[in-house]
Symmetry: C3
Subunit: 348 residues, 3 copies
């Protein structure tokens, strides 16, 4: 993809200063610019970079006044940052122009595929699957029997959705994500082995959920594991059976949430956090990376550490953890001093 | 799937009290009941929920005597909990009624496929693969050359089994699991780069092993990485080359076990546990979530913390970790008091 | 595969002592030997195992002189360990003799496939993909549009490479790895929901990179996430958008590196390490398993703990962490003693 300064200025309703025919095929940062790309100046702190910028085109705010000559073509716009965002979305939409049902895919005769689909080769659409309009299913994806998929959903190559799950409008599911595998439920027997507890529930993703690459969301034993509206899950996250994640909660990579725990809305969890089963985490809770939760958590708490504690408390304790050898030394000295005092008193 | 009260009572040898024609298509919990479903009352603590229960059918124990009218149809059975388990298994078996070899799969001419197979579309069965009877291989799975698979094995969509691995009877392998990728072995060279050490061993899963979604079990450098009978691995677990996991050991999600470590039977590890290489963890060991093991572990130990310590010891130390700022303050005060005492003695 | 003693001796330029027709089909360790296999004696500490060794053939150094009769055929070589490595590589190369384009694969008409390819069934090669010579793409892999792949690359079954990524010469990518999924970038809105920030960059793997099973490397928001020459990543690792990993850095399983962090060359990270975003980790840094980094790290540092500290400092503090209950007890006793002293002084 290549765009001329003229095309970009037309799209952004901007004003060209320089060569309107120069073309770019990518973007670069103004402090790390690359020839043949488009760059942008939004934050005035970065203004001094513009005079050495190697980019072919630079977006600037209308009020930008150069102090020295600039070799690149400028495009002046109302708000350079917002214009950049518009360009990013434009480029992004070109990436996603796939359409049609590729011949080597398998679509069950009983599946109902909505309007304007993309179904990539080697994708498998099971019995009684229903998809909404403008659903894109990339190659090698698996949509099990009876799965329901809303409108404008994107499922990237090789994502797996087990039977009976429900995917809401505008969800994005990345490669390798597994939605609806069995929950980890086994009943111990007398001889020390385990019997599998059948996992007959499903997973429900509400609308606007994003599931990262290789993240796993297990189906419920009974009922549903529910990921509410607007939740964003990063890569390699584990969500166990019967968990519920509240709307607009955002979770970073490699975090794990054990069975039946309920997470409130608008929480933010760092990476590699661990949350045991059967807990309630209320709304607005922030948990730092690698923290290990041990009990229910109240609204808007900020937690850190494994086992986790309130953020400030952990930080204070950790300051003294670092000084423990000194503290121990001080205690040792105190013992000696007391001994001396005792001897002195005796001597007196 | 829909079942009438009559069908369910016949299957469970139960007694119907109410409408024998009412139908259900799912299950729900008595404290979170859903119309049109079957619920159950097993624990007497939950008895009060039955009077407002919205379920169409409720399983109860023979000795249950209602104190108020109940709108649902009751089915009385010997043991409501065990009857529920039977029903779950029945429903589960309906889910798994796939059979036949779907046309778009690839099965090598030299593969020997056992009786009553299911091989889904886009699955790849390599040269000299042997499968037992009633093996179900869902779509997009990869079975490398020379892999041997026992009877009644289920391999879900997109699981990958590298060449030469061995899968025992009744194993269940979930989507995205990777069995037999190369162990992580590299020899440093003088210029700081690394040479790959060929990994020519394999992975052996004994019978009744369950492997969770996106879990990875690496092949041995030489010999076999062995997962013994009855082991249950949750999702996103890493088992490195030449590891051995003892029978009936159960490991929760996102735990990692480094190369050549031997785990005894009947252990239980929480999620996100880390175990370094070349260790021996004896039988019956319990390790809490997020613990980091640092050495061999004796039979029936219970460990916690990173670095891990005996459970009670860690908990006690952690109590004082929380109080470290106070302890430091106390020490500070002691120093002052001793100084005062010293001055007092001098003054005397 | 079976080899006779004669074939092996010819390949290794070794001298046979015993039956030159005996055949082996696998390798085993001298302290855990298996009949019908080839074993080796390199470390003199293991010499006593050779007299009971069940292997059919044993590689020994030229200077090995048996003290008792040995039942196996010996092959004497200059350096038994190096000869073993040569044999491993030989066996390994037989495993990887796949070639040709299997009929059930999809290769876009606009893709340019280099000489001597292997493209397995159900693999998807998108528009304008370019591959070098001797590239092996196992079944069910996904190579998105415009991806460039160098020479002698191996991509195992089911790996996924999103559009526009670049894979250098001699890279190895294991099953389930996802290269180029969207970075985790969302802008909060006033109502608490999030808008996706388009991720239009790519991932660049330089030459000789190995990516473990189910590891995820996210594409950059703009520009490239870069994995430099010779980096080795184990399984289930998360590399976020715009990260850069320096050459010959080696990272163990389940480690996560957040957005825009730059890692220097020749680092070694243990498993389950967490590194937050926007940090600089300089060259030669070693980080122990499960450590949680909190700031920039200087050249050749050795870190441990979560939050991480210099290795020695953490270890010292942890010694006292274990003794905290005793320390607290000592402090308590000191308080009492001071009280006694005070009373004594008063009494005086």
């Amino acid at each position: 993809m290549e765009f001329s300064a003229q095309q970009i200025a037309d799209f952004l309703h901007g004003e060209i200063i320089g060569d309107r025919d120069v073309k770019v095929n990518n973007l670069s940062k103004i402090d790390d610019s690359i020839p043949g790309t488009l760059s942008f100046l939004s934050n005035p702190k970065y203004s001094h970079f513009i005079y050495d910028c190697k980019a072919a085109i630079i977006l600037v705010n209308n009020d930008f006044v150069p102090e020295k000559p600039i070799s690149a073509t400028l495009i002046k716009v109302e708000n350079a940052y917002q214009s950049l965002a518009s360009l990013l979305q434009l480029v992004d939409s070109f990436k996603k122009n796939k359409s049609g049902i590729e011949p080597l895919s398998y679509v069950s005769a009983s599946a109902e595929i909505g309007a304007e689909p993309y179904i990539g080769a080697f994708s498998y659409i099971g019995d009684n699957v229903k998809t909404g309009k403008s659903v894109k299913i990339y190659p090698q994806s698996y949509i099990g029997d009876n799965v329901k998929i809303g409108d404008d959903v994107t499922i990237y190559a090789g994502a797996k959705i087990y039977a009976n799950c429900v995917i809401g409008d505008r969800c994005v599911i990345h490669s390798g994500a597994v939605i609806g595998a069995d929950g980890f439920g086994f009943a111990p027997t007398e001889d020390g082995s385990y019997n599998k507890i059948p996992q007959i529930g499903n997973v429900v993703l509400e609308s606007d959920v994003e599931i990262g690459a290789n993240t796993t969301v297990d189906r419920a034993t009974m009922g549903s594991t529910i990921i509410h509206k607007g939740v964003k899950l990063d890569n390699l996250i584990q969500i166990a059976h019967n968990v519920e994640v509240g709307s607009n909660t955002v979770i970073a990579a490699q975090t794990g949430i054990a069975g039946s725990t309920k997470i409130g809305p608008n929480c933010m969890f760092g990476g590699q956090v661990g949350i045991p089963g059967h807990l309630h985490i209320e709304k607005g809770v922030k948990i730092s990376a690698q923290a290990g939760i041990t009990g229910n958590v109240k609204e808007n708490s900020i937690l850190l550490g494994s086992p986790a504690m309130p953020h400030m408390q952990f930080s204070k304790s950790y300051v003294y953890f670092k000084k423990l050898p000194e503290l121990a030394n001080t205690i040792n000295n105190l013992q000696k001093e007391i001994e001396q005092l005792r001897n002195q008193i005796k001597a007196d």
